[in-house]
């Protein structure tokens, strides 16, 4: 059973989003996603200042097995990226919701966050996907 923190929001493309106190949104991939991809060996992050659009690809995570696009859960501007992943991409496997975060976005429309799934809904979504 994969780990799904209830305080986060989730996209169908398996990203998680955390609404920070300063209004920004931290983005990563879910525990289920890292488990499916396997050993992470390279992460390509967006540029700071880059404008991203909800549901469009803006980062790539690569495991030994495959390269996978990461989609922005909300539109906005990238304000920080997790540069540590350049040397230690395995953090995405080891701590998908913590040290393995990918980037932080200042959203242009925070209401887009409401369109994402709750933890419970994402758990059901994974159940359905598995069948």
């Amino acid at each position: 059973m994969s780990n799904i923190p209830v305080e986060l929001k989730y996209a169908k493309s398996h990203e998680w989003a955390r609404h920070n106190d300063d209004g920004s949104i931290t983005v990563g991939i879910s525990d289920n996603a890292q488990d499916q991809l396997g050993d992470m060996v390279y992460v390509e992050l967006p540029e700071i200042g880059q404008a991203v659009t909800a549901e469009e690809g803006c980062a790539v995570v690569e495991s030994v097995k495959a390269a996978s696009d990461v989609y922005a859960p909300v539109s906005g501007e990238v304000v920080e990226v997790n540069e540590v992943l350049g040397d230690t991409p395995e953090l995405v496997n080891q701590d998908a919701y913590g040290a393995g975060w990918l980037f932080r976005v200042q959203p242009s429309d925070a209401a887009e966050l409401d369109a994402l799934m709750s933890g419970d809904t994402y758990a059901e979504f994974l159940e359905d996907e598995a069948h």
Partner: protein, 362 residues
């Protein structure tokens, strides 16, 4: 309905992630592909390769048949149990499959061919056998387990029957020995020492569990692919197929041109191609930047374009490596298009890794 090997239940019990491979339900990994890979380089891992096709060839004229069928020359096989790697070509010189053939005795050879090419291989073997009165017998009732790694032989030998243990311990690389229906060969697809063991399907699960108890770790097809890539070994369907000759697949060494009067299927086409000069070559690539090389990425080298045929991340070297088919005049450097950006790669001569050690400078 996918095929299942006699070890399918073992894979599920071992936590294997099952994927389709050439119509077979096979484990891609049992958790971490990289850990499984590293374990084969440093200790011992086992692979279920029962999906591969074992074919016995019998009849008084079997040697003559194989001399005609294969680009490599079975006359090189003089001692019982000796193995030969060869391509089987069509008349155009394209590769129908790559395979290993073992010489057992003059009227009996054993061949192991790929799972993905099984049907066409068997049809071709049958078609060519008619003129030589050779009998082609597939052996689907046999399973096959590869045990690979520096400790593979030491961990396997105590589990073999007394009747064969000494002979198996004495095997030189690329030789095999029978023990009843069991066939133990010192061959593999990882660049490490070890055995490939053919055994009756009904005995496979028990032997697998004994190997596991001896500290041999189940290893999936994912690690098998990165291990063979590091070892500089081609994969049929990725690095060569029926549209590619061995000359453009870095397999020149497997073509036995001499004696010149040995006619084999594809020989005329190969001689013509060699005389005219081939336009491409298959080379090894080491990515200079961070990133991962993948199959089908475009390569800019020499006077034109090429393509990656097998690309991945090398767990041993911690760098992206690949085989690429590039223009013949490609020098020591080329560029690879990764998601629209060009990245520098160095052209190197495989293998990348052998017996746990890097074979190229990083």
């Amino acid at each position: 309905m996918a095929n299942k090997t006699p070890l399918y239940d073992e894979h599920v019990a071992d936590g294997g992630k099952i994927v389709d491979f050439a119509g077979w339900d096979m484990p891609i990994n049992y958790g971490s592909q990289v850990e499984e890979h590293n374990n084969v380089r440093t200790d011992a891992g086992m692979f279920d390769v029962s999906h591969m096709t074992v074919v016995d060839l019998t009849g008084a004229r079997t040697r003559e048949y194989l001399r005609y069928l294969l680009a490599n020359n079975v006359d090189r096989l003089k001692e019982s149990g000796k193995a030969l790697y060869s391509c089987m070509l069509n008349e155009q010189g394209g590769v129908i499959d790559d395979l290993i053939v073992y010489y057992i005795r003059d009227d009996y050879y054993r061949m192991v061919v790929n799972a993905g090419t099984r049907a066409k291989d068997l049809a071709w073997l049958e078609q060519q056998s008619v003129d030589f009165s050779v009998t082609v017998t597939e052996r689907p009732e046999l399973a096959m387990i590869a045990v690979q790694g520096p400790n593979a032989r030491a961990k396997t030998l105590p589990l073999l029957r007394d009747s064969v243990r000494e002979a198996a311990a004495a095997l030189q690389p690329f030789y095999g020995v029978f023990d009843g229906e069991w066939f133990i060969a010192r061959t593999g697809y990882t660049g490490e020492d070890g055995f490939e063991i053919v055994l009756p399907a009904e005995e496979a699960a028990h032997f697998w569990s004994r190997l596991r108890a001896a500290g041999v770790r189940p290893t999936g097809l994912g690690a098998r692919d990165t291990l063979r890539l590091e070892a500089g070994m081609n994969l049929y369907g990725s690095d060569m197929d029926e549209s590619i000759t061995p000359l453009e697949a870095a397999l020149n060494w497997t073509i036995a041109w001499e004696p010149a009067d040995r006619d084999f299927i594809g020989r005329k086409a190969l001689e013509r191609a060699r005389a005219e000069g081939v336009r491409h070559k298959l080379v090894g690539l080491l990515l200079e930047d961070k990133g991962v090389l993948r199959n089908h990425q475009k390569v800019l080298g020499g006077s034109g374009e090429g393509e990656i045929t097998s690309g991945s991340f090398s767990p041993t070297l911690q760098r992206a490596i690949a085989f690429a088919r590039v223009p013949k005049d490609t020098g020591e450097h080329c560029q690879v298009d990764i998601r629209g950006k060009l990245h520098s790669a160095r052209v190197v001569k495989p293998p990348f890794v052998r017996n746990g050690k890097a074979q190229i400078e990083l």
